[in-house]
Each structure stands twice: as structure tokens, then as C-alpha cells.
């Protein structure tokens, strides 16, 4: 009995429990929405979303489509890490979406216009994303501008800029940018044999293991270095951190630069795999950065947890496309994701209540035992 109590008190267990609860509730509400639209296929529909690549009967096909999900998990993980890293300083980097957009613009332009090799393109995305984060950081540190508002403004500025820029490298007959594979093969991130593991899915590249390695690095930086400690201290109590001699302004700017670079990198991981082309007529900011918010909070604000939650979020987002489109809108998946974000707002309350409940019970049993 005593052991079980302490088990539920472990923060990690609480985080996992809270995340699972959010997922179950999110899926349940999604199911109810399906029921409301058309009761007949609702059960099948929600199962199709959860199954995603398992919807294919054959093993090779499953692996191939698992590969596709992973290809999009890598950028999502990077966006989530960006938001996670900034949140530790107490900054809500909703601008990750825009940093991702300018990263995409930079790497595609470098690849298609200047025929740069893949690592140079990645570097471009990283730098430009970092610059976008830097702008938010400067505004926050020196002009006291709320980072959420400036982030959103920069998202839209970035979108219009990138559309304008990539207009120069688009296919003449479509609004999409040219295929990297046919214009500049050297800009595609190498797959180093990984494609073989996923039934020759050529989009599976070293970007995926790289993203996981970066997540681990971020964990180490946050938890095992002086810089990480300063970041977390600033997040806990800005005034105390300043009083302790930490350069709060520098830390704010630096975190956002790193956050921006991470999001930019994420874009490079997707667009340099050749999986997607940029549409220069798109009129809304890609949802990758916003889904990153879901992944971050679902992952319990822990870089390692974020690896799993990113996969899950991408899994159901991709799963949405297996819904019967004649009956259900595929945006149900987005709806489930957003409900999960909303529910994550209750996680802190959940943890406090759980801890409080357990403490009370321990106190009671302690008293009766005496």
C-alpha cells in the first residue's frame, strides 16, 4: 500500500497519467463528434484515425506508411522542442509556426535557386529561423512586447515573405515549388539506407534519427548544464534569477534564437526530404508549429516525453486522412489535437489535486496508525 502511494507521487508517473487522460478524453470527444455527424460509421471512423498506417493489411505497406508518419514527426518534434525550450524560460513561443515557415522558405530557396548541397540548406533554415526567433527575443527583452502577439505578427509576415520569395522558384504550371529531386538532387537529405527499412520509402532520411538525437541533446542542455539551469531559473522566477546575477535579457534572446533555429531546422527536415512542396498561394500559416504546442504539453514539457507525444500527434493527424471523406471531414483529427491542447491546460490542476489527495490520505492513515 505504501509503495503504491509513493508510485503515484512520482512526477513522471503523474505526467504520463495526465497525458493518457488527455488522449483518452480527446479521442472520446472526437468519437462523439463523429457520432453526431453520422452514427453509422462513427466507430469505424475513430478506429481508422487511431490505426493510421495499420489500416493497410500488408506488412510492407504498413512500414511504408509508418515511414510517412515518421517523416512528418521529425519536423513536428523540432517545433515541439522549440516551444518546450522557450517555455522553460517562461516564454510561450507561438512564433515557432512562423520560424518554421521562414525555415522552409530559406532551405527551399537555397536548394532551388542556388543549388546548395543539403547540409548548407539545413544551415540556411537554421540561421533564418534563428533570426526570426531573435526578433521576438529582442522585442521581448528590450521593448517588453508580449511574445505571443509579436510571434503571431511575425508568423504572418513570414508567410507572405516566403510566398513572395518562393514565387521565383515555383513550377510554371502549378502554385507549388519545383521538385527538389528533379532540380537539385544534392539538396535532398541522404537516407543512409534507412529507406530500405521502410519498404523503400525514399522520404525516410537521417532527419528522423537526427531529430531524436537533438531531443536528447536539448534534454541534456536543460538539465545538465549551467545555461540550462539559468534558463529554468529565469522561468521559475525572473526577478530572483536577475538578483542571482543571471543576465535575464541575454537568456531570453538566446532561448528564442535557439527556439527559432530548432523550428527552422524542423522545416528543413520536412522540405529537404522532398516529401512536400511549398504552395506559394497558401493563405494560412502551416499547422505544424501549432501542433507542436500540443506535442510539447502532451509530452509533459519534457524533451524525451515530447518524442513520444510528437509521434502520437502526427499519428492521429495522418490518421485523419483515412476517414471516409464522403461522410466525415478529415479536420476531425485537428479537432482532437486541439481538444488535447485544451485539456493540457487542466494538467497542473490535475497534478495538484492528485498530490493533495494522496497527501491527505497519507496524513489520515499516518494518524490512524499512530
Amino acid at each position: 500500500m505504501k509503495e503504491k502511494k509513493s508510485f503515484l507521487m512520482i512526477p513522471l508517473v503523474q505526467s504520463v497519467l495526465a497525458a493518457l487522460l488527455c488522449i483518452v478524453l480527446g479521442l472520446l470527444i472526437g468519437y462523439l463528434v463523429l457520432l453526431a455527424i453520422n452514427p453509422a460509421g462513427a466507430g469505424e471512423g475513430i478506429v481508422a484515425i487511431i490505426k493510421n498506417f495499420w489500416n493497410y493489411p500488408s506488412k510492407p505497406a504498413q512500414m511504408k506508411y509508418l515511414g510517412n508518419t515518421l517523416v512528418k514527426t521529425a519536423p513536428l518534434l523540432m517545433c515541439a522542442l522549440s516551444i518546450n525550450f522557450c517555455y522553460k524560460t517562461g516564454l510561450f513561443n507561438i512564433g515557432a509556426a512562423g520560424q518554421y515557415v521562414v525555415g522552409a522558405g530559406a532551405c527551399l530557396y537555397a536548394a532551388l535557386k542556388f543549388n546548395m548541397p543539403w547540409f548548407a540548406c539545413i544551415l540556411m533554415a537554421l540561421i533564418v529561423g534563428g533570426i526570426w526567433g531573435f526578433a521576438v527575443g529582442m522585442l521581448k527583452a528590450y521593448a517588453n512586447v508580449n511574445e505571443v502577439i509579436s510571434g503571431i505578427m511575425l508568423n504572418w509576415i513570414g508567410l507572405y515573405l516566403v510566398n513572395m520569395l518562393l514565387n521565383g522558384v515555383k513550377e510554371s504550371t502549378s502554385p507549388y515549388t519545383e521538385q527538389i529531386g528533379s532540380v537539385n538532387k544534392g539538396a535532398l537529405i541522404p537516407s543512409a539506407g534507412l529507406d530500405k527499412m521502410f519498404t523503400n520509402n525514399k522520404y525516410v532520411t537521417i532527419a528522423i534519427p537526427l531529430a531524436i538525437i537533438i531531443a536528447v541533446v536539448i534534454w541534456v542542455v536543460l538539465n545538465k548544464t549551467k545555461f540550462g539551469y539559468e534558463i529554468r531559473a529565469t522561468g521559475f522566477n525572473k526577478e530572483a534569477a536577475r538578483y542571482a546575477g543571471m543576465n535575464e535579457k541575454r537568456n531570453i534572446i538566446l532561448t528564442l534564437v535557439i527556439g527559432g533555429a530548432l523550428a527552422g531546422l524542423g522545416a528543413a527536415f520536412l522540405y529537404l526530404s522532398g516529401y512536400e512542396q511549398w504552395s506559394v498561394t497558401q493563405s494560412s500559416v502551416p499547422s505544424m508549429g501549432f501542433n507542436g504546442i500540443a506535442a510539447t504539453f502532451l509530452g509533459g514539457l519534457d524533451p524525451i516525453g515530447t518524442i513520444f507525444s510528437s509521434f502520437f500527434i502526427q499519428h492521429i493527424t495522418s490518421g485523419g486522412s483515412y476517414l471516409d471523406k464522403a461522410v466525415y471531414p478529415s479536420q476531425i483529427a485537428d479537432l482532437i489535437t486541439s481538444i488535447i491542447i485544451y485539456l493540457c491546460g487542466f494538467v497542473l490542476f490535475f497534478k495538484l489535486t492528485l498530490t493533495g489527495m494522496l497527501n491527505r490520505r497519507r496524513d489520515k492513515s499516518g494518524k490512524s496508525g499512530r
Binding site: A143, V148, M153, W156, Q331, S338, I339
Partner: protein
């Protein structure tokens, strides 16, 4: 030129309404970053109402559109209130969730309705061209929109309510020093709920004004293009005061209107600036404005901090 004035006024009306919403919410102590989502929901309610009302009485249509969009907006902010006031959730996170959720909810609802009507129609577009005519009075070539009047009235009412009534002063006390307000018998939770719900109503109306500003059908997948956040910038620039907000909205509305009508000015069209640049204008201006005004701005002191009766 008249077209420019017309668009400036209508976009300024949107910004005024939504920014006033944000103003009420923040004065009560809750940051409503979900205004963008509230606008989408209000727009959804209004658009469906307009679709249903096509061809009915002119006066009733206008009143009903306002009522329905205000109510949908309010209903949607209940989600914010529950999470942020009663469960003390992170206001930034919940607001963001509301923004993302609104687009998804609106798309799902509209698509489901469209498919129900006609199985081949899988778009997320609502058409309301006919009912939209009720909103407009033509004065020469200038199209007067009733919502412009609504916005002006809203500014006046907001001013009176905030500064001249017991309710408004109490509301503001809850955003400045909730503990002190509580100690003199004001129910902080109730006041914050009031602030949040008012922001929902105003945000909802703002949403329907936005979608009827230029077009007669709306694709709900696109959301409202950051207008909720522009409104927050207007609110900060207007230093949380209704009259200043109205004036700030005119400035922002002007830059937003430019992107709609610049091709009508021969000298602007001759400059051959890509339309994307005009589209960027409002966002760039708001960044600049915020950069210069945020440093010394006086936000309500307790905004963003969940009120906990037990804490000191």
C-alpha cells in the same frame, strides 16, 4: 478614395469591437488570447444565421445576426472561463487551444452541414450574399454598414460602463488588485466571468463583421488571419482605454484596408509593389507600434494571474 474610407471604417469597426472585448477581459484580470478563435466562432454563428435568414425582414435580420454571433462567441468563451477562472489553467495555453480549436470546429461543422445538404459539396464555405445586403445602406457610392454604428456605440457604452458604473469600477479593481477587491466584498470570480463573457460577445460580433467586410461567402478553413491578435495590439496601443482603442483601430484599419483597395489608386498600382507587401502592412505596423509603446504601457496589474482566494 471612398472605397478606402469605407474599408478603413469597416475594418476599424472589427478591430474596435474585438479590442474592446479584450479590454473588458483584461480589466477583469484574464488575458483572452483566444479572441481569434472567438471571432471564428462568432463568424460561424453569424454566417449560419445569415444563410438561414436570407430574404426575411431587414431590421430583424440585422438584430438577429448580432445576437446570434454574440451568443456563439459568449458560449465559446465559457471554455476559457472554466479553464482559467475555475481551474486556474495557464491562460496563454488555453487561449491558444481555443484559437486552434475554433478553426477545426467551424470547419467540421460547416463541412458536415454542407455534406448533409448536398453529398457532393465537401467545401467548408458558407454563402450569405443575400442577407448581407440587409447590413448595408448605400449613400451615393459609399456603402454604410450598420456595424460601423454598432462599433461607435460600443465604444461609448464601454466608456460609460467602465468608468461611470459601479460594475465597471469593480471589474477593473479585479484586474488591478483582486485581493483588495475581495476584501471589500467583491466576488472576484464572478467579475472575471463577466469580463470574459463580455469579451466573448464583442469578439463574436467582431468575427461576423470581419467576414462580411468584403466578401459574400466565407471559407472557414482560413480562420480570420490573425485579426484577433491585431485587435490585441490595438488594445495595447490604445492603452486599455475605450476611446483610445477606437482611434488606434482607425489607424490599423487603414493599413488593412490598403491591401484591399490599393489597386484602385493609379499611382499606387504604378509602383508595382506585390500584393503580399500590402498584406504584410498591418502586421508590420503593429510590431512597430508595439515596440514603441509596450515599454511604458500600463497593463492591468493582475492580468494573467489566476485568482486564488487562499493565496496572499
Amino acid at each position: 478614395m471612398i472605397l478606402l474610407i469605407q474599408y478603413t471604417l469597416i475594418f476599424a469597426s472589427v478591430l474596435t469591437l474585438v479590442a474592446l472585448g479584450g479590454c473588458f477581459s483584461e480589466h477583469s484580470g484574464v488575458i483572452n488570447l483566444g479572441l481569434e478563435g472567438v471571432m471564428v466562432m462568432g463568424a460561424l454563428g453569424g454566417a449560419l444565421c445569415m444563410k438561414a435568414m436570407a430574404g426575411s425582414n431587414y431590421f430583424i435580420t440585422v438584430i438577429l445576426i448580432i445576437l446570434v454571433s454574440a451568443l456563439t462567441g459568449m458560449a465559446y468563451t465559457v471554455l476559457l472561463g472554466v479553464a482559467c477562472i475555475n481551474f486556474k489553467a495557464d491562460q496563454t495555453l488555453v487561449g491558444t487551444a481555443l484559437n486552434i480549436m475554433a478553426t477545426a470546429v467551424a470547419t467540421v461543422i460547416v463541412k458536415a452541414l454542407n455534406m448533409h445538404e448536398n453529398p457532393d459539396n465537401v467545401s467548408a464555405t458558407v454563402q450569405y450574399g443575400q442577407a448581407k445586403k440587409s447590413l448595408i445602406v448605400k449613400i451615393g457610392t459609399f456603402q454604410f454598414n450598420w456595424f460601423m454604428l454598432v462599433a461607435v456605440v460600443a465604444v461609448a457604452v464601454a466608456f460609460v460602463v467602465l468608468y461611470k458604473t459601479k460594475f465597471g469600477l469593480r471589474l477593473m479593481a479585479c484586474g488591478e488588485n483582486p485581493q483588495a477587491a475581495d476584501s471589500v466584498g467583491i466576488n472576484v470570480y464572478k467579475m472575471r466571468w463577466a469580463g470574459v463573457l463580455i469579451s466573448g460577445a464583442l469578439g463574436g460580433i467582431g468575427g461576423v463583421v470581419y467576414i462580411t467586410a468584403g466578401v459574400s461567402e466565407w471559407k472557414f478553413e482560413t480562420g480570420v488571419a490573425g485579426f484577433g491578435f491585431l485587435a490585441l495590439a490595438v488594445m495595447i496601443f490604445g492603452s486599455w482605454k475605450p476611446v483610445n482603442i477606437g482611434l488606434a483601430a482607425l489607424l490599423f484599419g487603414f493599413f488593412r484596408a490598403l491591401s484591399n483597395v490599393y489597386s484602385g489608386f493609379s499611382w499606387l498600382a504604378a509602383l508595382k509593389i506585390p500584393s503580399a507587401v500590402y498584406n504584410m502592412f498591418p502586421y508590420i505596423i503593429s510590431l512597430l507600434v508595439l515596440a514603441f509603446t509596450s515599454k511604458n504601457s500600463r497593463a492591468p496589474k493582475a492580468e494573467g494571474i489566476p485568482y486564488d482566494k487562499g493565496s496572499r
